[in-house]
Subunit: 370 residues, 2 copies
Amino acid sequence: MVMDFSVVGALDAVSEVVERIKKRRVLALYFIGSTKTSTIPGLSIAGATPEVTLYTPACDVEYLVYGEPRSFDAIPMTPEGIPTPAIITRSCINICRIPYLVVDAGSAVEPKIPHVRLPSRTVGEPINTGRALPYEVAKALYEEARALAHMLCGADVYLLGESIPGGTTTALGIMSALGYDAWGKVSSASPTNPHHLKERVVREGLERSGLRVDEARRDPIRAVSALGDPVHVSMAGFLEGALENEADVVLAGGTQMSSVLAIAKHMNVELRGVVVATTRWLVSDPSSSISALVRSIDPSIPIVSMNLDFSKSPYEGLRYYERGYVKEGVGAGGMAFITHVLTKRSAREIEESIYEEYKRLIRAREPKAR
Amino acid sequence: MVMDFSVVGALDAVSEVVERIKKRRVLALYFIGSTKTSTIPGLSIAGATPEVTLYTPACDVEYLVYGEPRSFDAIPMTPEGIPTPAIITRSCINICRIPYLVVDAGSAVEPKIPHVRLPSRTVGEPINTGRALPYEVAKALYEEARALAHMLCGADVYLLGESIPGGTTTALGIMSALGYDAWGKVSSASPTNPHHLKERVVREGLERSGLRVDEARRDPIRAVSALGDPVHVSMAGFLEGALENEADVVLAGGTQMSSVLAIAKHMNVELRGVVVATTRWLVSDPSSSISALVRSIDPSIPIVSMNLDFSKSPYEGLRYYERGYVKEGVGAGGMAFITHVLTKRSAREIEESIYEEYKRLIRAREPKAR
C-alpha cells in the first residue's frame, strides 16, 4: 500500500503540526516575485521564453484566484500541455476552502487580483552581478513581511508557498553565500537540471560581490543583497513573525525552502515548529537533494512529501510530471498535504480533483463554438 | 450606572454577533481611499489643509501599524492636539490582538505598510462633477473586494472600517442618488457640520449626472459611478462576499455605513448578520442621525454604540471629542466594541489604554533630548 504522504526526519514534529492543522486555523500565503536571473538563457523553463518568465508569477496567482490568467492571454500551460503547479494548489483550495492571500514581494508584473503589496517590493537583478537587491531593500522586505505576520496573527498554522522563476538559482546563491555546500543539490522545473549553468552564475556573483561567509553569516541580509531575490527573504521575515506569534509554519516548496531556512537561521530565529512540505516528485528527484540541504541547515526540521502520482492520469500534460517536469511550485505539495489532513481525502482522490481541473483548463483552450 | 455599550434596534441580532465574536475568529479590514471631494474648501477637516486630506488615509494606517505616520513627517493630530480616531483603533488592537489588514481601494498616497491592493484602486473625482468614478472601475472594485472576501474565508465575523476624508459627503451623494432622504443627516468630523455645502455639492453632482433614482436602484454601481468614491463600494462588495461565506459583518463606522448598506441592498444582498457599530459621540451627535439613515435602508439592522467618554481625560486633545470633534473613523467604535466583548474590559478600562497611547504620542512630539 502506498501512503498518502511520506516523512523524512522527526515524525513527532509532523504529528504536532497535523494536530494544529486540524483545528482549521490555517492561513496560506503565496509569495511572488521576479529576479532577472530567470532571463539568463537556459536557466528557467517556467515560461515559453526567458523574458516571459517575468510574467509567470502574476499569471500563476491570477489563475489561482480566477481560474485563468489575466495579465497574459493564454492558459497556464506549455505548448505540450504541461500545466503550472498552481493547478494542484487551486484544486486543493477548492476542496478544503482555507483562507489565502498572495503577497507581492517584487513581481515584474502587478497581478490583477486583490493582493498584499510589500512597500519595498522590487524585482531582483541577475545574481551573477553580485548585486541582487540594494541592502536596504532586502532588509526592509524582511521587516515588512515580519510585520505582516504580526498583522495576521491568530492562525495556528501558516502555509507559505512561492512563485519565482529562477528561484532555485537564487536559492543556490543565498545558501552558497552563507557557506552551505548546495552545489548540484537544488532542483529544477526541467528534467535536465542545468547545474553547470547555475553554478557558473552563482560563482560569478560570489566573486563579484566579494562577500565572505563569516560576514554573510553575521548578517544574512548581505547574502540576500548579493545573491538573493525578493521572495525568499520575505518568506524568512514572515517565518520569523509567525513563530513569534507561536504559530507553526509549513514551508510549502522544494529545495528553495532551504534558503528560507538558512536566512532565518542566521537571523537567529529558533526554527521550532517548522515543517517543509513538498511533493514526491521533488524528494525523489535524482538531480537534487532537498533532504541533504535541509539537514545541513537544521536536522531537526522534517520534510513531508505528498505522494501525488500522475502516472495514471488520462492527460499526457500531467504525465510529464512523472518524467521530471515542474515537480513543485505555488505551494502545491504543502497544499495537498493540508487538504489531506483537513478533509481526509486520499492522494488518489486529490489527483482526481486535479484531473477535473485539468479537463476544465484544456476545454478553455479549445476555440469556442459560435 | 453607565453601560459599556448601547443598542438601537434588534437586540437579539446583536447577541448573535456577540456570541460569534467570542469564538475569536474575527478579522478586521480597514478600507482606505481618497476622493478629491475632500479638497473642496470647507468640506473636510481631516487634514490641516484641504490638500493634506489626501494624505490622511495613508497616515492613519501607517500610524495604526507602526505607531507613527511614514508618508508625512508629523504625529497624527491637529495643532490643537486632537488625535486621529485611529488612536482608539490602535489601542484596541494592542489589547485584543485580532488579525487585521488594510485594503487600499484608491488612496492618493500609497501607504508605507504591507497592505492589500485592489487592482482597480482609483482616487475618486469631486462628486459635484457627477462623474466620481468610471463605471467599469466602480464595478470592478465591488467585484475585487467580493473576491477578496472569498480568499479570506473562514472567519466568523469581519469588522470593516474606513478612512476616507470627504466620506460623509460621498455617502450623502450615494444615498441621495439611490433616493434616500439623507439631507442633513450625515455626520462630520467637525462640531459645525457643513450641511449646506455638502448639500450644494451633492445637488450639483446629481444634476450633472442626470441619473434617475429608478436607474440607480436597478444598478447601484451607477450611483457610485456618479456620486460615490472608491471606499464605500469596495466595502459593499466585501460585505456581499463575507455574507456569502455565512459570516457576520460589523460595519464599524458612522453615517457612512448607511451608504455601504444602501449599495449592498440594491445589489440585492440579503443583509442578515450585519450590525453597525460606532461610538457614543456619533449616535448622540445632534447634527446627524445614523439611526434614521440605517432605519430608512433596513430597519432590521441594529446599531451598537460603544460608550467611550473622554470628558475625564487628562488630555485636552482627547476632551475635544466631547465637544463634537472627530467622533469616529478607522473602525474606532467597532474595534472598542469587539475589544470589550473579547477581553471583558470595560469602556473605562479601554479609555485608560487610549490615554496611555495618547501620552506616548505627545511624548513623540517633544523635541528629543541629546
